[in-house]
Structures are given as C-alpha cells and as structure tokens.
Assembly symmetry: C2
Homo-oligomer: 372 residues x 2
C-alpha cells in the first residue's frame, strides 16, 4: 500500500515569495529560496531539491516559480526536467500555484499523488522527514488531504499551529491524526500552553494529496479557480496554445492561500488529517530564526553568514549576514542583527525581527524601491 | 595690557592624531580633523581655523601636521600662509609639535605669545572662547604658562580634569586660578564629586604662553628635546639647510605629551595658571560624544551625519554616520552607533564607544590594516 502510493508520488516546490522579513538579504530579484541560509554552501532551494529527490526521483519534482527566476532556478537545479518548470507570469498565491501543478500533473498522469513543500524551509533529519511523507502519502492514497505537521520544540510565536484531534485508522498512516482547527501565530502565553498541552503541531504548509482530490477541494471552495486551473492544464503541454490561455486566465485567478481555500474547509469536513513530523524544521521566517539556526541555538554566540565575511566582534551575539567584503566590527551589541549588502544595511535585534517587513513597506512607500 | 598681549598673539593648530576612537570614520589617511563632525558643512579643522582667525588674523595661524595631510590641510585652509605650514616627517607627540612651532615663531618674532588649540575639538559660543583666550594671553604676557580649562556641565568620564587652586592676581586675567593638580579620566563617581565640588575644570589642552617661556619649560624637563627644537628652528626658514637637519633631529625627539613635559611640572612649581572657559566644548573623543553633539543632547533622538545619508529608522536612537549612499535601516535599536563607510562598518552602542580603540588595535594585529 505505502509502496504503491510512493510509486505515484510527485513532489511540487512552489518557489515564490520574496521573504520580506529577510530584507535586505532577500530581494525581489534574489528571493529567500535563492540564498544559502544555513552555511551549507548551497541555496535552500537546492537543499529542498536534495531532500525531495529520494522520495520519487529527480524526474518527479516540479517547480512552480516566477518567470523572473527561471534562469536562477534552472542554474540551481540543472537536472530539473523542462516540462517540470512551471512559470507564473505573475504571483497569484499558493492555491493557484499548487493547484496548477496538481491540474497539470493529474492530466499527465491520472491518479498522481502530489506533495507540496516550500522552497525556503530548513529541515534536519531527512529520514524522519521521509518517514512522515510516506505516511502522509498513504493517507492521501486513502482520499485524505494530508498535512505533515511539526512536533513543536519550543513555544514559537512566529508559526501557525494545527490543533490536532483524535487518532485515525488509515492503513499505512498509523500516526495520522484528525485536525480540530488551525490557529494563526499565537502570543507567547498561548504558545506556551499549546506546546505544554501536546496536541498542537506547527503548520509547515506541507500538503500531500491525490491531485484529483486537491482539485476537488479547490472546486468546492473556489469553483472559478478550479475552472481556470483545468483550462490552463488542458493546454499547458501544447506550446502553441498555452500562451494566450495563460495570458487570459492566470491573471484573473483569485489570490488566496491554500490554507484558506483547502486546508480549513477540508479539516472542518473531516477530510483532512495530519501526520506529526519529528524532524527539526524552520521556516526561516525572520532574522531571529536565521540567527537561531546558525548559532546552534547558543544565544551567546554570534552567527556569521557570508563566504567573504570579515567580522571582528567583541562581546556581541546575534547574527551578521555579510554580502560584501567590508570589515564589520561589532562591540558590545547583544542579540543584534546586522545585514550588510552592497546597497542596503539593516541593523536591528532578534526581538524586532518580525518588524522588518514593515520597514520594507515603508521603503516602498518612500520611493526607495531600488533596494527592495 | 591685554591689547598688547593679543598684538603679539599667534595661534598654533597641532593637527595630528588619527582619532582611533572614531574609526572607521577617522583613518590614517582621513584623520578626525578632516571630517565634518557637527553637520556644519565643513571640516572641524576649518571650524577651528574660523574660530582662531578673529584672535590675531589668518596670517597669524600656524598649522603643524603630518606630511601626508599637507594637501588636504591646504585645501581646507586656502589662506594659510606657506611659512605657517609646519610638516612633521613622522608623529612625535604634542611636546615636539607645539615646541617646534614655538621655536620657529620665537626665532621669527621674539616675544611672541602662542596659543595652541587642537584641530579637532568643537566649541560653541565664540565670544566666550575669545574672552578666555584674551585673559590667558594676559597671564602668558605676565610669564605664566596659561591654560584655558572648561567649566564642566556634566560628570564626563572621557575627559581629564584640572583641579584648580586659589585665585591669582594677574593684570588682565581676573579669573585666572592657580592649578593644584591634573587628574586623568575619572570614574563616574569621582566625576560626580568633581563637578559638584566646583573646583575642577575639564582639561581641553589649550596652552597659551610666551614662546620663550614654553621653550624654557620644555628645557627644564626635556633638555635634549629643547636642544633639538632650537636646532630645527635655526634652519627652518632656510630651505636648503632644513632637510638634513629635520631628517637627523626630528625622528630622535622624545615622544611625550605636553601635559607631562610642561603642564604638570609648571603647575607643581606655581608657574601655571588656568582661566575657566564658560563656552560649550567637546573633544569629540568617541561616538558617544559625537552622538551627543549631533542630537542636541536629546537621548531619544537619532543623529544622522552624512550628506548623502539615506536612513530609515523605527524606534531607534543614537547616531548613524553614513559615508556611502546605501540605505540604512534601523529597527528598535537604542543608543546605537552605526558607522557606514565604503570598506568598513562599525556597530556598537554609546556605552561601548570608548572600546572602539581596542578594536582598531585588534584589526591592526589581525592583518586588517587596509581599513585603518
């Protein structure tokens, strides 16, 4: 059973989103997934690819990204098959991106099971990751929309949470749980309660589903979107016909996150389950997260990212991201965030990391879009 | 009497010293005095010149500086008379620098009174400054080594203090006081006591003296230095003879601050007096001082120095010095010091400002002299 499900498995990587909270590292023309955020020596898109390749092979990985990023993505992923590069003419949020992949793949290969994994998350312990995906694929094979949720290790306030319900009885997915509800980023007190209670998981937006079931869920909540996706899929593999349809249909698709279009209604109807993942995971959502990831969790340390970094620090902790060859000297600054790029410099603290997005908005409004 | 003393007055500006505590703004090739540190639109060397010119005229200002700074100094001070540019082949500290000026001027114009004022201090209220100098010149005319000390406005720990003694009875210098002793930078508790007690002044290293008297004091404590200075002065105005004597004599002069060679022994012998100055003064010794100077003393403000600065700050205070055109974004950082230059970046806090010198030393030792 499990074996059969993975034989029909296809990975999808939606590689969109700039990652504004990581400005000025992340930019419109250098989004988060195109950076080495872990010091691994390669981009996290490439890390994602390497993590997914063992699931069903490199030939069964599809990437949905913006036209502007095509060259960079193909450079990062030289073995990405040409038909598996799905280019968005403009961003239409995650339901459209993942839904289009589902529609194209279902048309090519009816009965396919897709697993959608963000291009810009960090995961350690690949074996536990694969184990969770295999269980989720079994649940998908049984007709469920399956999520992989992450067993929390701390009361994080930067993530959404999944409130789990009771056990299910799905063949091949012994640890799958029903989903009671989804909760947005909580305050610290609430997060502490969630983690202590034991029936909350972090929502990592990992969707595993039969493509036809995913499309069916989209159709229930967003019938116009489904119609558009099917129309696009119909012509996608016909180069002559694709262009005009894309130009007409894609820009009209509703911008809605898959969490709202699929996960919440499916959960409410009992058609969604979650498999707890016991691997380390981080969405690297802001510089506090990046700092934590790169300092091995030691708050007293100063993490340094950047191959050419020349940092001299005294009594300082936090993170320095260096994209220049400048000497960076820190004295007596704790939990600091310094991001040094050729045209923009950010200085803040871990505590203020979530506020970076507001600055990006302010820069846009103040006519400084040249550095965004 | 006063009139007579000022008729024989000559200003001397020792323009040496890099100002390591203002790194990376101050550099070996761009020392502190060549920067606009107040947002006045001109360098503080030029501010110093403008402040001294009314004392005895531009033709009676001598600048002692390093050979490497000749072009920059002359560019800043286009009306500086050529014979009044005294170039050091290498730095030999303040006794040699001021002593050489005294020896040259005394030879050219016996009986001259010199006033030595640092090139890189900031003074407000020029009228009160001149008033203090005129009194000090009267004391100098009476044979004293005279200092202008600064009435403290706060318990600063970054300055040396002058412990004043009783009143003197010097014609034309009614506020001149005897000097009991000099004290190095005190701790905060001691500084509070000094300021509360009322008989301490900040030592601004402003020396006013007859040139012959200054040389006499140097000769008492450092007879070899005096011999060297007189030998240099003898040939200084003979271009053909000067070179070989400078090459032989100058590098052999002892490196000693004028405070030790002249001020302390003269004070101990009762030959030194101090005139309290009631003007605002700052030696801009570190970034905390620079921050204070440029924020009008409001701790909640963020001071910004740099003609092309593009700073976007949210809930931040302290100082940003921008020598690049990069966008600098600060979020939630208080009392911060950010100094952004093309090849080096410093991030620290006002509290740690005095530690910048240690970093400069560390950079030198670690082979990063390219940014010093």
């Amino acid at each position: 059973m499990t074996h059969t499900a993975m034989d029909r498995f296809y990975s999808v990587i939606p590689a969109g989103g700039i990652g504004s909270r990581l400005w000025p590292l992340s930019r419109a023309d250098a989004p988060k997934f195109l950076h080495d955020l872990t010091g691994s020596g390669q981009t996290i898109l490439r890390d994602t690819w390497d993590r997914l390749a063992p699931l069903a092979g490199e030939q069964r990985i599809m990437v949905v990204t913006g036209r502007a990023h095509r060259a960079a993505v193909e450079e990062q992923l030289p073995t990405l098959a040409d038909p598996n590069v799905v280019l968005e003419s403009e961003p239409r949020d995650s339901t459209a991106a993942i839904g289009l992949a589902a529609a194209i793949l279902e048309r090519r290969e009816p009965g396919v099971i897709i697993g959608s994994f963000a291009a810009d998350h960090v995961i350690n312990n690949q074996r536990l990751f694969r184990q969770a995906v295999v269980e989720a694929a079994a649940a998908a094979d049984a007709g469920y929309i399956a999520l992989v949720g992450i067993q929390p290790t701390e009361p994080a306030i930067g993530f959404g949470y999944i409130h789990t319900g009771g056990a299910t009885d799905i063949a091949g997915a012994p640890s799958a749980l029903a989903v009671d509800s989804f909760v947005e980023k909580p305050d610290l007190k609430t997060a502490v309660r969630y983690v202590a209670g034991g029936d909350y998981l972090w929502n990592a937006s990992m969707f595993i589903s039969r493509a036809d079931r995913l499309l069916e869920e989209i159709g229930r909540s967003e019938p116009e979107m489904l119609a558009g996706l099917l129309e696009l899929a119909e012509v996608w593999d016909d180069p002559a016909a694709r262009g005009p349809v894309v130009d007409r249909v894609w820009p009209a698709l509703k911008k809605i996150a898959i969490d709202y279009a699929v996960a919440e209604p499916a959960a409410a109807a009992g058609r969604l389950v979650v498999v707890p993942g016991h691997f380390d995971w981080d969405d690297v959502g802001d510089f506090a997260s990046l700092s934590r990831l790169n300092s091995g969790g030691r708050k007293s340390d100063l993490a340094i990212l950047g191959a050419d970094a020349r940092v001299l620090a005294d009594a300082s902790s936090g993170i320095v991201v260096s994209q220049t060859k400048r000497v960076i000297s820190l004295i007596g600054v704790r939990d600091i965030v310094v991001v040094d790029t050729p045209d923009a410099l950010l200085v803040t603290t871990s505590e203020n990391a979530q506020r970076v997005k507001a600055v990006v908005d302010a820069l846009r409004l103040s006519g400084s879009s040249d550095v965004l």
